[in-house]
C-alpha cells in the first residue's frame, strides 16, 4: 500500500486457508466437545472415572463370569459357584415358558405363526416409503388380529382349543400391549375431540370418562374388571379374563392418551382452524385433514411416552392371574433345579432386557418419525 490516507483496504480477495490442525479430526473434536473449558474438562474426567469404575464389574457379571451354554461347565453347578456371574443357561432353559406360558408345546407353531404375521404386517405400516398404506393398515388392523385370534384360540379348522388361561409369557405381553396401543390412540383422539366439543352433553361425558379413568390406579381398574364387571352382567355370561384385562388396559390408557392429544390440539394456532373453516371444510374433514395430522405430530413424544408406559404396565395384569412375561420369569426364579445365587437376578435382567428392547425400539422409531414428519423448517 502506498496510500496511507485510508485504513487497510484489501487489494485482492484472500484465498481460503486450510483450518488449523487443532480444530480438525479427533483432536479437534475432543478439544471442542470434551475439553472446551475447565468445567467441561472436569466433567469429562469424572465421567471417565465413573465409566471405568462402573463398566468392568457389570461386564464381568454379564459376560466374563456368566454361564453360557458354550461355557466349559454349563450345568447348574457352574451357576452355583460363588464367583459365577449371570446364569444365562437357566434363562435359556426356561425360554419356552417365558415366550409361550402354559401354551401346549406341540402347538407352539401357532404362536410362532402369529409372531411372524404380526411382524410381517406391521413392517409395511412402519416403513414410511412403502406404498399401499391402506392395504397395509387392513392387514395389520383387521386381518392379523382375526387370524391371530383363531390360530391362538383354536377350536375351529381342526385346531385344538387352547383357552386364554393357557396363554402366557411374551405372547400375552405383546397381545395386551398391541391391543392397548392400537385401541387407546383412536379412543383417546375421540375423547380429546369430545372434550373440546361445543355440545355440553358430549363434552361432559368425555370429561367424566377421562377424569374417572385417570384418577383410578390401573391395578384398581384391573381388579374391578375381573371382580366387579361380572356382577353387572346377566347371570350365566362370562367374559374372558384376558378380554377384561384388554378392555381395562385400553380404556385406561385411552384416558391418558386423550389428555396428550388435547395438548396437541390446544397448541395449534387458531388460524389453522379458521383457515380450514374459511375453505369450507366441515368439522370432520377439518379435523382429519388439517388439525389432527398437525396436533398428533406435535405430541408424538407424549404419545410414545404413553405407549411405553402402557407396554410396561402390561406386567400389572399378573395380579388378576394372567401370566405375562414378568410373571412367568418371576414364577421360575425359585425353581429348585436352577437354584443358584444369581438365578433371580438373571431372570429379572432378562425380563428387563426384553422390555427395554421393545420400549427403546418404540422410542427410536418415534424420533425417526418426528424428524421425518417435521415440515416446519424452523430456524
Amino acid at each position: 500500500m502506498t496510500d496511507n490516507s485510508v485504513a487497510f483496504v484489501r487489494g485482492e480477495m484472500a484465498d481460503a486457508q486450510p483450518a488449523p490442525s487443532t480444530s480438525k479430526g479427533v483432536v479437534g473434536w475432543m478439544r471442542f466437545n470434551l475439553f472446551s473449558d475447565i468445567p467441561n474438562s472436569i466433567m469429562t474426567v469424572i465421567g471417565a472415572i465413573f465409566l471405568l469404575w462402573f463398566i468392568p464389574p457389570i461386564f464381568n457379571f454379564l459376560v466374563t463370569d456368566a454361564v453360557f451354554p458354550w461355557s466349559v461347565v454349563n450345568t447348574v453347578e457352574a451357576c452355583r459357584d460363588h464367583a459365577a456371574g449371570a446364569c444365562w443357561i437357566y434363562v435359556l432353559d426356561r425360554m419356552d415358558f417365558f415366550i409361550y406360558g402354559f401354551y401346549p408345546s406341540e402347538e407352539y407353531w401357532r404362536v410362532n405363526i402369529c409372531f411372524a404375521l404380526g411382524a410381517l404386517t406391521i413392517l409395511p405400516l412402519l416403513w414410511p416409503d412403502l406404498p399401499h398404506k391402506g392395504l397395509s393398515a387392513i392387514g395389520f388392523f383387521v386381518v392379523m388380529p382375526i387370524i391371530t385370534f383363531f390360530l391362538l384360540n383354536g377350536g375351529n379348522f381342526g385346531l385344538a382349543e387352547v383357552p386364554t388361561e393357557k396363554w402366557g409369557g411374551l405372547t400375552i405381553t405383546l397381545i395386551i400391549a398391541t391391543v392397548g396401543i392400537v385401541a387407546s390412540l383412536p379412543i383417546g383422539v375421540v375423547l380429546a375431540l369430545g372434550r373440546r366439543s361445543k355440545m355440553p352433553f358430549v363434552k361432559y361425558v368425555c370429561i367424566a370418562f377421562i377424569e374417572l379413568w385417570r384418577a383410578v390406579p390401573l391395578i384398581t381398574v384391573l381388579f374391578m374388571a375381573s371382580i366387579m364387571l361380572p356382577l353387572f352382567l346377566p347371570e350365566g355370561t362370562t367374559i374372558d379374563k384376558l378380554l377384561r384385562a384388554l378392555v381395562g388396559v385400553s380404556l385406561f390408557s385411552a384416558a391418558y392418551m386423550a389428555e396428550v392429544v388435547r395438548g396437541g390440539l390446544q397448541a395449534l394456532p387458531k388460524g389453522q382452524y379458521e383457515a380450514a373453516d374459511a375453505l369450507g371444510l366441515n368439522y370432520f374433514k377439518a379435523m382429519y385433514l388439517i388439525i389432527l395430522p398437525q396436533a398428533l405430530k406435535h405430541v408424538i413424544p407424549g404419545i410414545v411416552n404413553s405407549f411405553i408406559s402402557l407396554f410396561k404396565d402390561t406386567s400389572l395384569v399378573s395380579i388378576v392371574g394372567l401370566f405375562d412375561l414378568l410373571n412367568t420369569v418371576q414364577a421360575t426364579t425359585a425353581v429348585v433345579e436352577w437354584k443358584s445365587p444369581n438365578q433371580a437376578i438373571t431372570g429379572y435382567l432378562f425380563a428387563a432386557a426384553v422390555f427395554w428392547i421393545f420400549c427403546f425400539g418404540m422410542s427410536r422409531y418415534s424420533m425417526y418419525m418426528e424428524r421425518r414428519l417435521d415440515t416446519g423448517h424452523k430456524e
Binding site: P269, G271, Q272, E274, A275, D277, A278, L279, G280, L281, N282, K285, L289, I290, P293, Q294, K297, L373, T375, G376, H377, K378
Partner: protein
C-alpha cells in the same frame, strides 16, 4: 399520499366493472357483541358484484370482525347478513355453502404447514368440491402461476418467505373458484419489499372483476383499486366514499384525524 406510493401500484380500472343489479353481500342492521362488549353497532352495507371495497379504520374499530362475519368465522347476534343470496344463520349447511363461495386471506397466511404448497391448494377443491386430483392440481398450478410461484409447488410453507406464503394463500383461496374474496390485513405481517408483490397479485385479481372486501392500511392500493373506501370507528361505519373523495375531502372529524396520521 406520497408520489412514491402512487407510482408503485398501477391498476387498470377499465377492466373492473361493478354490477348494477347483482348483490354480492348485503348486511342489514347487524349487531355483534363479544360478551357484553358491543363490537359492531348497527352495520348496514350493500356490496354489488365486482366491487372492490377497502375497509379502513383505527385498530379495534371492528373492521376485521366485520369481514369475519361475512364468512361466519364470527357469529352475529342481530340483523341480517346475506352472502351471494344465502342468508347466514345457525344452519351449518348454509354456512358451508357460503364458505365455499367466499375466499379469505388472513394476516398470518394460515397455510397448512404439514402440506406442500400444491397440496395446500388442492385440498379444499378435492375434499369440499369433490374435484378429481389431477384436475385440482392443474387448477392449482394455473393459480400458482398467476401468483408467480409455480416453481415452489412442491415446497412446504415453512420454506417460503412471507410474501410468497401470502401469495400461496391467495392462490389457495382462488382454487375454490370463489365469487367473493375477503382480505384481512393481508400485508400487515410482511416486510416492505414483500408488500408490493402481494399487492400486485391483488391488483391483478381486481382486474379479473373479482368482488373484494379488503381490510388494509395500504392507502395506495385503496386509491388505485377500490371503488369505495369504508371508514369504521368504534364498531360503526362512519364514512364511506369513492377513494379520491375519501382521501382528498374526508367529512368526518375522526376520518380526518386518522388520515392525517397515516398519510404524510
Amino acid at each position: 399520499m406520497s408520489e412514491q406510493d402512487k407510482k408503485d401500484i398501477k391498476a387498470d380500472r377499465s377492466k373492473m366493472s361493478v354490477s348494477d343489479t347483482d348483490v354480492a353481500v348485503e348486511i342489514n342492521g347487524m349487531n355483534k357483541w363479544y360478551g357484553d362488549f358491543h363490537v359492531l353497532k348497527d352495520v348496514n352495507l350493500k356490496v354489488m358484484k365486482g366491487e372492490r371495497i377497502v375497509i379502513a379504520g383505527p385498530s379495534g374499530s371492528g373492521k376485521s370482525t366485520l369481514i369475519r362475519c361475512i364468512n361466519r368465522l364470527e357469529e352475529h347476534q342481530q340483523g341480517q347478513i346475506i352472502v351471494d343470496g344465502i342468508e347466514l344463520t345457525n344452519d351449518l349447511k348454509r354456512i358451508d355453502e357460503v364458505r365455499r363461495e367466499v375466499g379469505m386471506v388472513f394476516q398470518h397466511f394460515n397455510l397448512f404447514p404439514h402440506l406442500t404448497i400444491l397440496e395446500n391448494c388442492t385440498l379444499a377443491p378435492m375434499w369440499v368440491r369433490g374435484i378429481p386430483k389431477a384436475e385440482a392440481e392443474a387448477t392449482a398450478m394455473e393459480y400458482l402461476e398467476k401468483v408467480k410461484i409455480p416453481e415452489q409447488a412442491d415446497k412446504f410453507p415453512g420454506q417460503l418467505s412471507g410474501g410468497q406464503q401470502q401469495r400461496v394463500a391467495i392462490a389457495r383461496s382462488l382454487c375454490m373458484n370463489p365469487n367473493i374474496m375477503l382480505f384481512d390485513e393481508p400485508t400487515s405481517a410482511l416486510d416492505p419489499e414483500m408488500i408490493k408483490e402481494v399487492l400486485e397479485v391483488m391488483v391483478n385479481l381486481a382486474e379479473t372483476g373479482m368482488t373484494m372486501l379488503c381490510v388494509t392500511h395500504e392507502m395506495g392500493f385503496a386509491r388505485q383499486v377500490a371503488n369505495r373506501v369504508i371508514f369504521m370507528d368504534q364498531g360503526q361505519i362512519i364514512e364511506q366514499n369513492e377513494p379520491d373523495a375519501f382521501f382528498d375531502n374526508p367529512q368526518h372529524e375522526r376520518t380526518k384525524l386518522f388520515l392525517s396520521q397515516i398519510l404524510h
